[in-house]
Symmetry: C2
Subunit: 572 residues, 2 copies
Amino acid sequence: MPYRAPVDDYQFIFDHVVGFGQVTSTDRFAEAGEDVATAIMTEAGRMCEEVLAPLQRAGDLTPAHLDNGVVRTSPGFAEGYRAIAEGGWVSISADPKHGGMGLPMTLTTAVNEMMSAACLSLQLSPLMTQGQIEALEHHASEEIKALYLPKLVSGEWCGTMNLTEAQAGSDVGALRTKAEPNGDGTYAITGQKIYISWGDNDFAENICHLVLARLPDAPKGTKGISLFMVPKFIPEADGTPGDPNTLKVVSLEHKMGLHGSPTCVMSYEGATGWLVGEENDGMRAMFTMMNNARLGVGGQGIGVAEGAYQQALAYAQDRTQGRALMTGGTGTILDHADVRRMLLEMKADVFAARSIALACAVAIDMETATDSQDWSARAALLTPIAKAFGTDVGIDVANTGVQVHGGMGFIEETGAAQFVRDVRVTAIYEGTNGIQAMDLVARKMADGGEAMNALLDEIEEQAEGARGSLPDLAEPVWQASETLRETVDWMVGQSDLNDRFAGAVPFLRAFARVLGGHYHLAAAIAEGGDGRRSRLARFYIERLLPEHTGLCAHATAGAEGLYSLAPEDFAA
Amino acid sequence: MPYRAPVDDYQFIFDHVVGFGQVTSTDRFAEAGEDVATAIMTEAGRMCEEVLAPLQRAGDLTPAHLDNGVVRTSPGFAEGYRAIAEGGWVSISADPKHGGMGLPMTLTTAVNEMMSAACLSLQLSPLMTQGQIEALEHHASEEIKALYLPKLVSGEWCGTMNLTEAQAGSDVGALRTKAEPNGDGTYAITGQKIYISWGDNDFAENICHLVLARLPDAPKGTKGISLFMVPKFIPEADGTPGDPNTLKVVSLEHKMGLHGSPTCVMSYEGATGWLVGEENDGMRAMFTMMNNARLGVGGQGIGVAEGAYQQALAYAQDRTQGRALMTGGTGTILDHADVRRMLLEMKADVFAARSIALACAVAIDMETATDSQDWSARAALLTPIAKAFGTDVGIDVANTGVQVHGGMGFIEETGAAQFVRDVRVTAIYEGTNGIQAMDLVARKMADGGEAMNALLDEIEEQAEGARGSLPDLAEPVWQASETLRETVDWMVGQSDLNDRFAGAVPFLRAFARVLGGHYHLAAAIAEGGDGRRSRLARFYIERLLPEHTGLCAHATAGAEGLYSLAPEDFAA
């Protein structure tokens, strides 16, 4: 797959859509000016194009496998990982104190997206490590930080997240893995964890597992969960990997896609672990890690969408078929109206999802730089939307990419089908998209809709400003925002949370649709309404934004109708 | 996969939704009364449950493969095929003169759907044979009929369709395969065909290829295409397979799914063929075959959707997770509002798509029985909708089925992912769904919208009749029909076909959404508004039907915006 890093698009969105200038105007990120950002993205983009993209198929064709208890990775993955680590792409935003670049999450988000587009299954490894770095920076003791962070930041060691157990998936609080004090400050961790992405590999010196477990007599549910660092090899004081810990990979899953990424069943058998954060306070640390990872997973969806789009476009520009119905003069299927519709849907949704993710990253950076409650609320609000919409777009765009290819799309050699298979899990892991939507209508509305309304105010302010110059783009965005505001009001007015949950997924989608309109309008405004981005904005606003009305109707239908069917009615 | 044949649902739709009674009131189908229909569906359903469903995984795990030029099929497929043939399920609607049952297409449609749900990759073989039988019945000479039909009808021989060539996919007219007269009434067929589903197998005595080819000096494009019967073994006069023909399977495709179905590259090397129909009139015969197959492929999507729904429901009724947020008292994830939303979307869309397909089949039967132009127009109108919406529903429902499973959905052993992989091609083959939509807004509107408006009249008549008793269901359906009518008017008013093509896919989807509302309303009326089908209808009408407004806006946006982007704007 030839992949071209869309650096210009990030740069445009930084400058004209999500206000990255606010970030570089802070003291904290003053060094991340335009030159630095461009240099980072260009350099990372080249690595993605030249080193990672050629690994995409290899990961699919030669899956990671278990060989005498050790994971053997796909051909070229070790070299690919080394390029990521040596480029510093694991730790763009990590604290310079431990070797990171200390640059904004906005840059990390762009680079992560490019790596996802080029080789999703390999990119998942550094994404997990990034989350671990963030969790340790915020919650670990100085000793653990000093011992682990330099190795994780350099990429010599890799990090994993161990939450899920067979009976504890979306309901993390149901987990049973035990942590018993050894009396020397360490703990003995015993239990089995499933779906552990990159639970082992053959290219890192050490694998650092962050494991959720219960102390003896811990309270039930999420309030009794603690977080532990459980390394594959117990580090010596000088940071060299020492004795093997009592943990092992039991098996790898046989998955629909993402074959290059080993998904492990892990067994901890009295393994030595160190507490991270306070006792019974593991969920807080986990959420630090997970929020980071959620934005990252949204970016995975967007990256795959970009890759699928580029491949479909290349096919459309090469394929000749059905001349009699052609309009446009390229002599390829790009001349067909329906092929253009498909490609523009793909492109317009990539832009919308990318802008949402980068706006979320900007909010995170502003929160970091200013400690502002408003930015914190904005980041919290945008995270589930960035995750769910980004991955939905990944799935939809990859599917449309297959369709553009016609019969060739169903043939594995083409590569279009792999995007569909690989990206499917992104709507499931790090909290299913249903969980994201429930988070959006519950926790993210606990402020009575204040953060949402503040965002809608901004949307309407921009639309009002453009009413004179771009009325046919600005007016529908303003109207859509009003419809969404009524939907937010309805949601806030429901005292029974289940009435919100009943419409959570369509609500999130409607919110994303409106945000997409807002960011497309920003692009059109930046161009003065005349240019290719304005034409894409018009496509989106005229043809995709209207989807929000149906979604808002669905969002406000309430729970009663869902429970009017008895369980036996479902089967009949 | 345990599969339960939804015979009750077909029966209900026959009796209360699509008016199957009209069919059995005709002389032609007088024998297909309720008892016969129920017996057929019950018997076929049992075969699907007991014989075919257990083959589903085997086809995926042990794909058909090429062994010294011969296709070896997946374990158990030969026995499965024999059960289909011996049950008579290849030829429910074939002419009794050649051994068929002579029963309505409506029954064939229901049985085909069940076979698709149980084992899609195997079901594709008899589906191809059915199309061939229909093409021969309508277009072949008496000699060919007498020689081939009894063998095809009994299932001893299988049929294939050979249209596509590397440079001729959606544009069939671009094909190059040559047919040269041998001087003895036969033709020498030379060329390569791709994507030939079930191009060979190891369980039929003979494989009968219907091949599109060009005679010497034939006109260009579709007007110069003729149809030939090219058997694998040249039959003796008594119907025993004789000498091998000069044709071969070059290779099998490695596909995203449908591994049990061998997709062949076929090479014809001066193979002996017999003309079917008139010279240069092959497209007409091919359309007979294709229209049948299009409805059949729509049924494949619906069948897979049913299978995926049943599996997701079984999982949801077994899995416990997230008790704290549960409402409803089953103690399983069926208590979660979002899980119910997903399952009800699946179930409501299966009902909508199934009703559309069966309404199409009823129209075909009425056309056959009465030679009525109106029924012919109705069948022609519903065919592309049944195909495209049925397969879109297959893809969407299979994807939602994965989501209901959470992480388990991505693991191949579960079987949920196989539905996604298998069904994906149904939106592509037998005319991509884009082609279906273009057919709908061009050929199916060549009457100035007459057939569509007649259908909308029926929709509104039913809705008006229910306004008193079920106002909150009837009113939105009536309104939606009016919105769709305006959209039809807009389409008819476009003199440039490309303006229709620009919105063809959302138009088809909007049409299906409104039809779904109509049929759900019919179900609610039949129950007097009180029952599980009425509750499902309410779900659909309140939550899914509103999608049509956004789709109609998209449908009427015109072509100009699609062509305002230059080819280089797509890449940037």
